[in-house]
Amino acid sequence: MLVVGGGIAGISVALNLAEYGAPVYLVDDTPSIGGLMARLDKTFPTNDCSICIQAPMMYEVKKKQNITLLTNTEVRRVEGSAPDFKVRLVQKPRFVDESKCKGCGKCAEACPVTVQDELDGRIGGKRKLVSIPFPQAVPNTYVVDNACRFGKKRADGACIGSCVVDCSQCRECQIAKCVVACRKEGAEAVLLWQKERIIDVRVRSIVIATGVDSYRPPEGPYGYGVFQNVLTNYQFERLMNAGGPMVGNIARPSDGKHPHRIAWIQCVGREAGAPVKYCSKVCCMIATKQSIIAKEHDPSVDAVILYNNLKAYGKGFYTFFRRAQEHGVRYVKGRPADVFENPETKALTIVFEDLDKGKVEELEVDILVLSTGLVPGTRTAKIAKALKLPLDEHGFIKEKDPICKPLETAVKGIYVCGGAGGPIDISESVSQAAAVSLKAISGGD
């Protein structure tokens, strides 16, 4: 079996199959499994800490004998048909030998360059040029920034002193600080000349679990990208996360001060003409969760959620919404028209129509969170192309018969689950993962 994508859906599929007794290749194109869930602070509707409940599953993947875990690995090509697919996988170099790295972090300590983290950059996330994706990463192996190897990070302060690296010139590097630090530890795990690895496997069935991405709105509307204190819900989640760049201190990006007024605007990206043409299901509960946590951090925070239709459809969701109300979170049926910034205080004024009152109102806040939806992961299109799978009009993997035969793609022996098939929450992903595992072992349609 081949499982593509190591988020919570892919992990669940791999564990189900492995426990059943089927050998599994679990492939993820990032350096660690965990996916979107590993970056979250809490999960609704219970406010369980996300990584707390996910990390044991990640360690289990590592431990299971019949799971071959291949991170930093892409599916290049698939030939054949069910039940005999020939798959070519390419493992991109991470420039650190997984079998030798102890995760001790001496390389990162030695690295002289700190850069903005891709994910958390806007809210102060930093990393070294050799880094680990997050503390609970599986595998617990560091990764060297490829650009650094070609002297392309000079602008960020790389290539100083003895740490001059240009891997286009030579092979066995003796001078890079990370290499030296690792060698000093007696490990020789940093291999700047590591090459990509081609792995050919034969599998009975393939499960696509490439997940979703958080929608990134264009700069401009609602002041996103223009005003510092306008964040997406994903950025706000990282801000709240004790394991995130601000170690859980909810602070305004503009001045690091504690916010007293926070508002959420729902359905960002679904406005007329905007690219998201469907309801992403989870954003209402994400905003509810974030507002509860903001209130738990500081009960005096004024939290307002501007929404249209509340999607509290799942088990325990409505109770969760009521819990937010009991915390004093205000839900306003409102259509935001515009957002202005006070250039001095960096506070934001939202102009909106309160539907219940039937009039236009203004609201000033310290942080504005845009509740953006879930869009197909970038790798979903890639994998669909490699596997010749049709996509639906939104860019998710198309199912053959969404009611009677859920999770089956147009190709026999290839199945889809989790966010690759559409917006979904964690619980549904895990249920689907169990269902798709049954499809994968039965191999039928």
Partner: protein, 740 residues
């Protein structure tokens, strides 16, 4: 594993055999002391015994033969060695009773050193191994496998974390870091002396499943199982398969025929010889546990032997109150309306009212009402284009990618949509010609009066009537509406906490057809895992009950979250294969007659004693759960966060294991404080161990306070795995408060 024995009926036999073995060994040694508090220190022959006298504690196993312990301390390159004086730690360890070998290694997890450990085990005839290095969360499996290959039972390994708990967090204080490391290693050695071999316990699981409920979810589960060669007993209380779908016509949003879907699935069920279908049948009784259920159903004299059970009992519509429902026959629920519409009946002008008996203080959104209601409303307009249809709603909840087209279709059907405020439901009154529905439309503003011949109430749902009985039979829980409670709402949605029982579809909460089918298949997969493996197995850390002192109070069975303790004539009996080793039964037992293998009272007691041997007034003894709390400790390490070097962490699997006797002993030995560290609520790896721990600590504070002990020094902290900073802050605050 070589030591694993497959046992079925033999489980009890093995239990006895084990028990007998233990007895025999005890007798041989002649020193196995039962009862409370009579294992005083004077009786303890050095060096391998520990006792916690004078506290009343559990039986103490005393071994006459000195054990042969090997200690391996890691430099972790310079990660440990740069801060901790590793040679001093090794020397200190060498001096401890029972230690015959102590060694430093640069990377003790490297392949070379692992074989060095194995050679030492063989050559020096080591019977216990202590490794002091990083964290058990990542590296314990490696070392367990290593000693096992060398012929040692893996439970004779003790893991000490001196990187995360010392060198990484006391970087600027070499003497203190070294002292902490020495203490932790000595605590590990003290526990190691008392370690005993343990085996994984298995019970066989056959290939017979029971599926309760013949709706789409139950049928999907049954077919999924049968296609994998499982013999399925499918029980349906009514006289036909299909459940709720039987009343429906077309399924939104894809306009499939409900009838066709049901008949397709029905054919698969009836055409599969592996499935025995019982219509108009109820489950009468369920006894036993995974792999060995005896299930009696109505109309069958002989019980079935069943390995796993799937509850797919579905849901039913609530009975609405108000809106003249019951008084006027043309006011009806959605399902009543659908059934009638299917006969070709012309309902005249229709008003739909959404979210009846739902989205209130009692229950949430019904998940399916908007979709089904809009589908029915559109069907009226399609069938009777001249009829007017008014659709009153407080919210529309249609989600996912599939509904965009549906929304368009609804719009094209020319329904009149009126949105009312959450607290202002429409009223239904009898008018001259029919019914009048009145509401304020918040979208347009004015009050709307809509004359209708028929009013359809889109009503919420509850679990079916058989759910309460089943709840008792399966020993599972459900919410106020009779929907069953899963083991974990996010990550174990289709499992019950107890092994071998699963749930799916609307028995969990209201669902659409697609999700019900998915969950049916998913539950089938979950049930297939033990049936295909042929067994379930504990990981060795399990509960053991010594009935000698048992008062048969039954508390242990009551607190067990996994139904792993059966009461046989009131006497508790642990089904070890399904015990997860959380230890809440051991902590709860008022007679201290329950032990958890690898975390026995005396093993932990030995750690407490060792920790407080020197300078107890400077030390905080922390009982730390293996999951989130240890995760937070590890994270503080990974972040290199400095905190005062006063804490000595003793690992337990769950904070629910923490026994009052340990806390008492630590206070008697004059510890600066005792800290109980568990998972942040509501998360618990063992369902609710931390909640039980919290209550127990409250009781401990009261009872130990009464005994004159400084109960104000008992503290708790509940941490998520990302709470490294919170742990550090707690340690700092505690050290400051206690002036350490």
């Amino acid at each position: 594993m070589a030591g694993q024995k497959a046992q079925g009926a033999g489980r009890k036999a093995q239990g006895k055999e084990q028990g007998a073995g233990r007895e025999a060994r005890g007798n041989e040694e002649g020193t196995r002391v039962k009862g409370r508090g009579d294992a005083g220190p004077s009786q303890s022959p050095a060096p391998c015994a520990s006792s916690l006298a004078p506290s009343p504690l559990a039986p103490c196993t005393l071994r006459p033969a000195p054990c042969r312990i090997g200690v391996f301390v890691c430099d972790c390159g310079s990660n440990i060695a740069a801060t901790v004086d590793v040679p001093a730690v090794v020397e200190d360890a060498r001096k401890q009773a029972g230690v015959v070998h102590a060694e430093e290694g640069k990377w003790i997890c490297s392949v070379d050193f692992l074989s060095r450990i194995q050679n030492a085990v063989k050559e020096q005839k080591l019977d216990r191994v202590v490794v002091a290095c990083c964290t058990p969360r990542t590296h314990e499996p490696t070392f367990k496998a290593t000693v096992k290959e060398a012929g040692l039972n893996p439970f004779l390994l003790e893991f000490v974390s001196i990187r995360e708990q010392s060198s990484w967090v006391h970087k600027f204080d070499r003497p203190e870091a070294t002292r902490v490391a020495k203490d932790l290693v000595k605590m590990g050695i003290a526990k190691a002396r008392l370690l005993e071999p343990a085996e994984c316990v298995r019970i066989p699981v056959g290939k017979e499943a029971l599926v309760i409920g013949g709706g789409v979810s139950g049928m999907s589960a049954a077919v999924g199982l049968a296609e994998q060669g499982i013999k399925v007993v499918l029980v349906e209380k009514t006289d036909r398969l299909g459940g709720l779908l039987n009343g429906l016509d077309m399924l939104a949003p894809h306009t499939h025929s409900a009838e066709k879907l049901v008949s397709d699935l029905e054919q698969k069920v009836k055409g599969n010889p592996q499935i025995r279908l019982f219509l108009s049948t109820q489950v009468e009784d369920i006894k036993g546990y995974v792999g060995n259920y005896k299930v009696r159903i109505s109309g069958q004299a002989e019980p079935f032997t069943i390995s796993t059970i799937i509850a797919a009992t579905g849901m039913e519509e609530l009975r609405p109150s108000g809106f003249n429902y019951g008084a006027v026959p043309t006011v009806m629920t959605l399902l009543e309306f659908e059934r009638k519409l299917k006969t070709g009946w012309n309902p005249g002008d229709v008003a739909f009212i959404g979210c009846v008996e739902s989205r209130n203080e009692k229950r949430g959104c019904c998940n399916v009402g908007c979709m089904a209601g809009l589908q029915a409303a559109s069907a009226v307009r399609t069938g009777f284009p001249q009829n007017k249809v008014g659709y009153f709603y407080p919210e529309i909840s249609l989600e996912g990618t599939g509904v965009a087209a549906f929304e368009d279709a609804v719009r094209r059907h020319g329904l009149k949509l009126f949105r009312f405020a959450d607290d202002a439901y429409p009223t239904v009154e009898k008018g001259a010609a029919g019914l009048i529905v009145t509401a304020r439309d918040i979208l347009s503003g004015p009050e709307v009066r809509f004359p209708a011949n028929t009013v359809v109430l889109i009503t919420g749902y509850k679990g079916t009537e058989e759910a309460p009985k089943l709840k008792g039979l399966l020993k599972v829980s459900s919410d106020n509406d009779g929907f069953f409670q899963e083991a974990h709402i996010k990550l174990r949605p289709l499992d019950f906490a107890a092994e071998g029982v699963y749930l799916c579809g609307c028995a969990r909460s209201p669902k659409d057809v697609r999700t019900s089918i998915e969950e049916g298949m998913g539950a089938a997969m979950r049930a297939l895992i033990p049936m295909n493996k042929g067994h379930v197995e504990s990981e060795g850390i399990v509960s053991v009950i010594d009935l000698g002192n048992c008062s048969k109070c039954g508390l242990c069975a009551k607190v067990c979250p996994y139904n792993a303790i059966e009461l046989v004539d009131k006497a508790p009996d642990v089904i070890q294969a399904i015990c997860k080793g959380c230890g809440t039964c051991a902590a709860e037992c008022p007679k201290d007659c329950i032990q958890i293998i690898h975390f026995t009272d005396e093993q932990i007691g030995a750690q407490v004693e060792e920790a407080l041997k020197e300078d107890p007034g400077q030390k905080i003894v922390a009982f730390c759960c293996h999951w989130c709390a240890l995760g937070a400790v590890d994270m503080a390490g990974v972040n290199r966060s400095e905190y005062p070097p006063n804490v000595r962490i003793i690992r337990v699997m769950c904070s629910g294991r923490v026994d009052a006797a340990w806390v008492r002993r630590a206070l008697e030995l004059k510890a600066a404080a005792v800290l109980i560290m568990g998972c942040e609520f509501p998360t618990c790896h063992y369902i609710d161990g931390n909640y039980k721990a919290e209550k127990r600590v409250e009781r401990m504070i009261k009872s130990l306070g009464k005994k004159g002990l400084p109960a104000d020094r008992i503290r708790t902290v509940w941490l998520s795995a990302a709470d490294g900073p919170k742990f550090v802050a707690t340690m700092k605050a505690l050290a400051e408060e206690l002036e350490l």
